[in-house]
């Protein structure tokens, strides 16, 4: 042939559903049987579930307790404070590490600083705000609050632990390594018990943390160890040339860390950090064991109402749905973050 063939369109593909079924579900006799059995089973579960949801379930337990499940007994006229806190907390990671568009990292840190002060003020009250006793913070709001507060606060601790584990000072390195490996070898529930009962013994006498604060402290201590390992992975994957380039420009060790190493290392591990937040979010259900009425805890107290005794299926299905919606949304967000880089 003298001329190369002109580029031809790809051959048309038959995309009809019948063909898809035949190719994927009924391509052999045993695949066909499997398809029929599994299909029948799924259909059975699905129909039974829908029938129950539509006919037998009594959803009054949810509709009458909806505010309780979502924001608990927090005074309705004060609940704006909680939503504001949530917004500020979500803004923290976004402002500091958000995207590549940021022009000056300083702005992010100033925001972070102000947001932290704002959050403490809104939660703690005082200076013009009435204090709301934190036994009134319940439901989904408490779940979100506990999960985000403990992630945000565990973050700096995790970064410090990661740096400490790579430090050239042996004492620091060994101490951080021991902490990280100790915590990673313990179940969260054990850490939470220790935070409840050991922390008050270890802290100076006038540091009276309440039950919620101790639980959040436990989550922070636990999460920081895992974050440290994630961040360490990011630190190790940074090419050596980056640090050398920073050195030859005359940047001092702290500036190299702050301007070159951490921003890159942390950006690399953001998806992993979101993943960790998702599991932390689900783990907060353990706080119910300490009589803290987060989503799972408040569900149990709803089930204790005389009107709704025995409505387990409805309540647990509903809170399961809430956990799933939040986690699924977050994992989609994290996937977007991964795709963009």
């Amino acid at each position: 042939m003298k001329n190369p063939p002109a580029s031809a369109p790809p051959p048309a593909i038959d995309r009809s559903p019948v063909r898809w079924l035949r190719q994927n579900l009924f391509n052999t006799w045993y695949n066909g049987i499997l398809t029929l059995i599994l299909g029948g089973f799924i259909l059975q579960v699905f129909v039974a579930g829908l029938t129950w949801i539509a006919t037998k379930a009594r959803w009054a337990v949810i509709s009458e307790n909806l505010p309780l499940l979502l924001v608990g007994r927090y005074p309705a006229e004060q609940s704006w404070r909680l939503w504001l806190v949530l917004l500020l907390a979500i803004g923290l990671p976004v402002s500091i590490w958000g995207g590549k568009r940021r022009r000056s990292p300083g702005v992010g840190w100033i925001y972070a600083f102000c947001a932290m002060i704002g959050i403490s003020w809104l939660l703690g009250g005082g200076f013009g705000l009435v204090p709301v006793e934190n036994s009134l913070w319940n439901g989904l709001l408490l779940t979100l609050l506990a999960a985000s507060l403990s992630t945000v606060l565990a973050f700096p601790l995790g970064v410090l632990l990661a740096l400490g584990r790579q430090s050239s000072l042996p004492i620091l390195r060994i101490a951080c390594t021991i902490y990280i490996e100790l915590v990673r070898g313990l179940p969260l529930i054990g850490i939470l018990f220790m935070a409840q009962f050991l922390l008050p013994l270890l802290l100076p006498g006038d540091w009276r943390l309440d039950r919620l604060a101790r639980a959040i402290a436990g989550l922070i201590l636990f999460n920081a160890a895992y974050l440290a390992e994630t961040v360490r992975g990011g630190l190790q994957s940074l090419p050596r040339g980056q640090i050398e380039a920073a050195k030859v420009l005359g940047l001092s060790a702290p500036l190299r860390l702050w301007l070159i190493v951490l921003p890159q290392a942390i950006r690399m591990v953001i998806p992993a950090i979101v993943g960790q937040f998702i599991s932390l979010f689900k783990d907060t259900s353990l706080l119910a064991l300490f009589a803290l009425a987060e989503l799972t805890g408040i569900a149990r107290s709803v089930l204790a109402q005389p009107d709704f005794i025995g409505r387990y299926a409805e309540v647990y299905l509903f809170i399961g749905l809430i956990y799933w919606i939040v986690c699924f949304t977050l994992s989609q967000v994290s996937r977007q973050l991964e795709v963009r880089d």
């Binding site: 090419p239 040339g241 980056q242 380039a245 030859v248 420009l249 005359g250 940047l251 890159q264």
Partner: protein, 251 residues
């Protein structure tokens, strides 16, 4: 050693009998080299002969165990203060560019002037734009390094080093990682830099550049400086047998 730069009697880099070991391996085996202000010294030699190691001792990226290295009157020791001062006077360009991928081209160039030299942002940016214009990257200032070609990245790296207003520039095989068609644009920038009177120590295999721009060429082999000559003598009348072998391989 002859003084090839009669107008500037005091050398700005003085390395005397420098020895360095990696474990048991003697990478530098007593290297002595002086570089005078405004001079362009090209270091050639086979791979693994210690060229990178040598120039990396000039800004304390590598330490050394014996001998002395003095940069502009400051002797390189373990003293952190001295090391920071020396690094501010010595710019370096790497084979792999090593731009900061999370910063824009402009931010790459302004970073050190702002944080180390305490320039205001406006002033640092104005100076950076001049430098970017000089290396022909002005229109790419707001892009990220990943969006540029290798040749463009290397020119940004040169601008980034120049932004600290160094007295000396070190180049470690600056064109070896580039596609052939981009080598020229980088060499052109280096040539004009040499023309402006910058003191340069360049490790390279680019014979054309060495011939045209170098004041002196040294051949390094197995941790030793084997021959030191001006380009004409180096390429046409090499004194050492080792140099003749090396030239036979690369020419």
């Amino acid at each position: 050693m002859q003084n090839t730069s009669p107008t500037n009697p005091a050398p700005i880099i003085v390395a005397q009998f420098v020895h360095k070991w990696y474990g048991q391996f003697n990478v530098l085996r007593g290297v002595s080299l002086s570089v005078y202000p405004g001079e362009v010294v090209v270091i050639m030699g086979p791979s693994g002969s210690g060229k990178s190691t040598l120039i990396r001792t000039f800004n304390a990226l590598e330490d050394y165990q014996q001998g002395t290295i003095t940069i502009d009157g400051i002797t390189i020791s373990d003293d952190i203060k001295h090391i920071d001062r020396i690094r501010q006077e010595v710019g370096m360009v790497f084979q792999q560019f090593n731009l900061f991928p999370h910063l824009t081209v402009l931010e790459n160039v302004t970073l050190a002037p702002m944080w180390v030299r305490k320039r205001s942002k406006a002033q640092a940016e104005a100076e950076a734009m001049q430098l970017l214009e000089r290396v022909g990257i002005l229109t790419q200032a707001r892009k990220y390094p990943g969006q540029l070609s290798g040749g463009q990245q290397q020119r940004v790296a040169i601008a980034r080093a120049l932004a600290m207003q160094p007295k000396i520039m070190l180049f470690d095989e600056p064109t070896s990682a580039l596609d052939p068609e981009m080598v020229r644009e980088v060499l052109e920038v280096m040539k004009s830099l040499a023309g402006s009177g910058m003191t340069m120590v360049v490790v390279t295999h680019e014979v054309g550049f060495a011939r045209e721009v170098a004041d002196r060429i040294v051949l390094m082999d197995s941790g030793l400086l084997v021959e030191e000559a001006n380009p004409i003598d180096f390429f046409q009348h090499p004194k050492e047998e080792r140099t003749r072998q090396f030239l036979a391989q690369i020419l």
